[in-house]
């Protein structure tokens, strides 16, 4: 009964497939690439560039949230978990690489037994580390997703569950002083795969790596959005039950988006560590998990570039505003969020779409 799938497609006339022009997206992508890889390094000081590098990491998380939430309808308030998994894997590797002749990271001698726990050992290998940065968050997301979506947990229940996980994850980390640094987290990294992290050239290199990664993630999500899977994901978001009656298991469709979003958050966390120089429970808990979301909402969650631009803009505004008006930022952020939710449910990207629609009907 399912043999229908592809046999007829080659015969059908090509001209009947009408597509939206992809030129605007391509132009947007090139503009983003130029802004990050050419403009920003040319005009920003090293300090500002490192700051932007941190925001680029947030933007990578945001791209994943755009996929899971904007297109998949999964309001994930716990991306900090996956961000943290990627970050801690990277941080563990850097600590091991920086360790002296005995191979024991400094903080373990201070707080721990002075012996490296067995589960740290695999991360001495750079290859294992790079694989684990993607695989650990992806596998955790797969396990969670399979448990949550197959039980048809969704909407607010899913949001609360994901947030609770972020809280639990942060608490778990705080309790592990001797093995992963507890509240202090892991910090004081000296080198990154053999490159000295105090060298300004290498700091710039990290910015380029982060920016190139962001562009790659945007390409991945772009392909997902224009594929048949992207259409199916929207269908699941809007009418999950109906999709079931068409012979799909919506849980599988959602798990894919959730896993991709988690992998992206993990990669972002791994890049965050050498750029910022510290990862601690404060960067992976409930508050950062919600902060990831704000930029996505403001930028436009179901668009391709909205989450990227929104995440960078909000983080940038936070930094510059809190430099000038330290106590003012929180109010501004709250007001912004309320305004967007109330008047621009599609974020600022929705403003453009509004104009387009008017043009179409005219």
């Amino acid at each position: 009964m399912t043999t229908l799938k592809d046999k007829t497609e080659s015969a059908a006339p090509q001209a009947r497939v009408r597509r939206k022009s992809e030129l605007p997206t391509a132009i947007g992508f090139i503009a983003l690439g130029l802004a990050l890889l050419v403009l920003a390094p040319a005009v920003l000081s090293d300090f500002r560039l490192a700051l932007l590098g941190r925001f680029v990491c947030y933007a990578i998380v945001a791209v994943g949230i755009g996929l899971a939430w904007g297109r998949g309808g999964m309001l994930t308030l716990g991306q900090g978990v996956f961000f943290g998994l990627g970050a801690y894997v990277m941080a563990m590797h850097l600590k091991l690489a920086d360790a002296g002749a005995d191979g024991v990271p400094d903080f373990m001698k201070l707080y721990g037994s002075g012996e490296v726990p067995g589960w740290w050992e695999p991360f001495r290998s750079p290859i294992v580390t790079v694989v684990a940065i993607v695989a650990v968050p992806a596998l955790v997301a797969f396990g969670l997703g399979a448990a949550i979506f197959r039980r048809r947990v969704r909407g607010a229940y899913f949001a609360i569950l994901s947030q609770a996980l972020a809280a639990a994850f942060a608490i778990l980390l705080v309790g592990q002083q001797a093995t992963i640094g507890g509240t202090n987290g892991l910090n004081g990294f000296k080198s990154f795969f053999g490159f000295n992290l105090y060298d300004p050239v290498n700091k710039r290199m990290l910015f380029y790596i982060a920016s190139a990664t962001l562009l790659l993630m945007v390409l991945v999500v772009w392909q997902l959005y224009r594929s048949r899977y992207g259409e199916l994901l929207i269908a699941v978001r809007d009418q999950e039950e109906r999709v079931r009656f068409l012979g799909y298991d919506p849980a599988n469709v959602k798990i894919v988006a959730y896993v991709v979003a988690a992998a992206m958050a993990g990669i972002a966390g791994a890049l965050f560590v050498p750029i910022v120089g510290i990862i601690s429970p404060a960067s992976v808990g409930v508050v950062p998990s919600i902060a990831f979301l704000i930029g996505v909402a403001i930028g436009g969650r179901s668009t391709l570039f909205g989450p990227v631009v929104g995440a960078i803009a909000v983080a940038w505004a936070q930094t510059s505003l809190s430099e000038s008006f330290p106590s003012f930022w929180t109010y501004f952020q709250g007001a912004m969020f309320v305004l967007v939710v109330a008047f621009l449910p599609r974020g600022f990207a929705g403003v453009g779409a509004l104009f387009n629609r008017r043009k179409e009907t005219a």
């Binding site: 009964m1 799938k5 059908a12 497939v17 392909q223 899977y229 199916l232 809007d238 009656f245 012979g247």
Partner: protein, 251 residues
Amino acid sequence: MNGDYLELTDVRVTFDGFVAVDGVSMTVLQGDLRFLIGPNGAGKTTLVDAITGLVAASGSATFGATQLLNQKVHKIARLGVGRTFQTASVFEELTVLQNLDIAAGAGRGPLTLLRRRSSVPEEVEEALEIIGLGDLRDKQAGVLAHGQKQWLEIGMLLVQNARVLLLDEPVAGMSAHERDETGQLLRRIGAERTVVVVEHDMDFMRSFATSVTVLHAGRVLSEGTVAEVQADPRVQEVYLGRAATTGEVRS
């Protein structure tokens, strides 16, 4: 595939002690346009829910040699059983074409899914023709008229390759003209399929039913042609005071 038919034997659905469907047995042959009527609460929609896996049931419902009851919803759909709902539920943000393409694709592999649609599948093209929405293929389904949405849903059943079609009040809220078109459409597609229509609209039933099953309080009250059922005194009794005078039962 010829000769496959839908056979229900002693189907029973109970919600917390309340018996919604109380031992229904019926056989629907291919090419038959079977109407399922009955007063509100007779168990019509619940029966459809049971066949499509939405509620647990006891007894047996087979199509061909396959047992349908108590399987997962999407597995039953893949066995060739499709349904529509009382309220049209299409994917409003997607175009007509995309709606149909999704319905056609439950068997697609991951690689096909991760690519773009390079051409329109033939069965989608055919369905667009049959339901008469060819010119609206690139319109968002959300802007379609109510009747067009129902036709799109029927089209989705066609590309889904459903051979048992369970339609829950397909003409509710339609104009007289749309009802007529829908009836013609059901006749055209019903010849090669097994179609069950849950309906309240008696005029529509009289015009298009080949056979009728009347449900009352979860049981089959009467079954036969339109004329036979109308002549059945038990049916008249159930509908007396509500339908016999006006010829129509409304919810």
